[in-house]
Amino acid sequence: MAHGTYYLPQPSNWPLKGSIALFLTTFGGANWLHHSTFFGLEFGPYLFVLGLAMVFYMMFGWFGTVIRENRAGLLSDKQVDHSFRWGMAWFIFSEVMFFGAFFAALFYARLISVPVLSGEQAHYYLTHLIFWPDFKDQWPILANPNPAAFIAPKSVMEAWGIPAVNTLILLSSGATITVAHWALLKDKRPLMLVAQSITILLGIIFLSMQAREYTIAYMEKGLTLASGIYGTTFFMLTGFHALHVTIGTIGLCVILYRMFRRDFSPTNHFAFEAIAWYWHFVDVVWLFLFILVYWL
């Protein structure tokens, strides 16, 4: 055969299914937001759920295909492995930039918009003088420039309660996944399985604690998405982070299943490393969140 060893996949219908799935999700979602009806039926939510289900189906099928290709030994080539690694690395880079946009919004609010609106940075700013002369520079904000439009929380989130514990949990999970990696390389199967399971457990504990914290924020403190820029940045940053922890935890579970299936060897375990990198990325994002959103 004239082929080099580089594996080139055959024509595939998963990408097209993925595009249709995303189209249905977004088209349904947009119509849901506006409660559009078609012959009296509000179709948005149905399309949205259908699209989302198709997204999961597509991911299941697509990743499944890759796993089967790997089992067939088609991906064992070093160069193919490198492509996957580089691909994952640059994907994580793009995720970093996505979080960067929300961190930028946080810095902007704390360093520029709130001081300017409060007249703190320069007393002559007209927005302050004309619209909201009572607005004071403070972070977290307990009174918004227009208190009627954006109802401020009663109190703010504390760093040294649940968030501090959560920091410890995520840091430990970073350690346990490293143990699992080491065990995988050394072919110590029981230790690998235990360490991987503990990592998953820590992820789940983190998420439940986070859910508990959101409940406290909404129920007790009155801190919501609609509480002005403090609530906005708080929930968007921690929310996207929690979403990533959820995706990571699901990924870890798939890896655990594949560990039971004996899919990995000390020399062939790209999927494990990809999720491990992802998990460390989520970990680092949390450290920044803890310091910049909760603590300082």
């Binding site: 080139l8 088209f27 979602g29 290709e69 067939a72 691909g87 930039m97 919004a105 609010a109 998405l225």
Partner: protein, 557 residues
Amino acid sequence: MNLTDDMATAHDHADHGPAKGLKRWLFTTNHKDIGTLYLLLSLTMFFVAGIMALVVRIELFEPGKVWVTPEFFNQMTTLHGLIMVFGVIMPAMAGFANWMIPMMVGAPDMALPRLNNWSFWLLPFAFLLLSLPLLRELVGMASHLIGLNLFAGAGAAPDYGWTFYAPLSTTYGPDSTDYMIFAIHMMGISSILAAINIVVTIFNMRAPGMTWMRLPMFVWGWLVTAFLLLAVMPVLAGCVTMMLMDRHFHTAFFEAAGGGDPILFQHIFWFFGHPEVYILILPGFGIISEVVQTFSRKRLFGYSFMVAATITIAFLGYIVWMHHMFTTGAPYAAQLFFMYATMLIAVPTGVKVFNWVTTIFKGELTFETPMLFALGFLVMFTIGGFSGVMLAIAPADYQYRGSYFVVAHFHYVLVSGSLFAIFAGVYFWLPKWTGHMYNETLGKWHFWLSAISMNLTFFPMHFVGLAGMPRRIPDYALQFTNFNQIATVGAVIFGLSQLLFLAIVIRSCQKHKAGVNEHLPDNVWDGGRSLEWTRLPTPVPYHTFETVPEIGPNDTH
């Protein structure tokens, strides 16, 4: 599942040609097929967005209302901009990347071929989503004519300009804004995946001996572009996510009443937006480098400086975004920094122009259509670059901003820059791809008509802009009429000339499909240095470099 059998048989089939029928295009993992799909999408959207531009130009033929409502005019300027940027220039460049990068680095395909298919097939759905509100509106208008009242009250298409500033797009945005937001999410996923694929292909798929400093300039241009995409498309995704939250979940990103700031929108948008202009032009620089050296029958002058200049431009591109915001009340120190940083970009760009001119100097020149477009690029892109330096000067920008001068500037860099580079690339590689030589006379007509009408359209805009005509307004003061009429005539000629291009491309594709073999030489232009010319037959077969080539010092630059 007998997938293993599937794969085994399929592996043998891979040596033959493409699959038959529609499935080939829907499910393909072949970089040449995907490149063709990108180019066809781009060509289609080029005419869609071009018609929108003509609606705008015809409305501006005279002061007052000519034929469309001001609301519809706004939707036309908005969609024209969005589609030209995301639906024409970017997919065309991605089409070239898919076709050429694997061949230029000596790889059998892109590094992640299945993902490559998804990068493309996200786009048609994204543009469907983006244009649904307009389609709905047009169907509504048509149904009104025949007495029906379909889609009454469905609301307007996006109408706030392609920059969709908050609060025009948040508080005051029409319902269709959410379609646009989600369309941008999908385009973003597409661009990020394509960029990952390109970076990985260039990092990991180069043939032995294809060292970094032997890469053709086109590959370098795209490598740097891919990094720009990876860094700024996620930021744009974040930006539209914030809009979505502000619109529906009462967050306060762009709401001063809640402690946010609409100016924040501009920071985030332009952090994406300025690098975006390099995303649109750097692959074009690459194409121009290939064309200029081929038709000068010389090595590119100052290759390593060209590489360094490309990287420098991209780096500086990250730290100049506030030149779009000089009049937002930014501190003077910030204005000065962004002004000087912006003007600094003229240095590496000047290096590039100098090197192209020096490559041409004393070359054995011939003037086929690709070279004509490249020369047109050199002259007119440089004009656009100069008006860019004028706009970079903060105090001058206070006057120019929001005027037709800005419109003139970015059309010189996008039409006679990016678009001319795309034309040059199509004429340059079309014979290689199809094995059929396009009609040179028609090609030259296309160039001269485009170049003349392009200047007719956009040069007068400098004058009306400096004299104070604002952009994005369907009406204007009486004294601007003459220049606007010249511009409209130019635009109509430009639009019609593109039909020539369409005919030329269709002809080539037909001949290719009919299997006409004109026995063109491998090195079609007798001066090509990169691997597609020196190592591959014409037309290029469906699969190339299945056995890994060895690259020596004489192979490229």
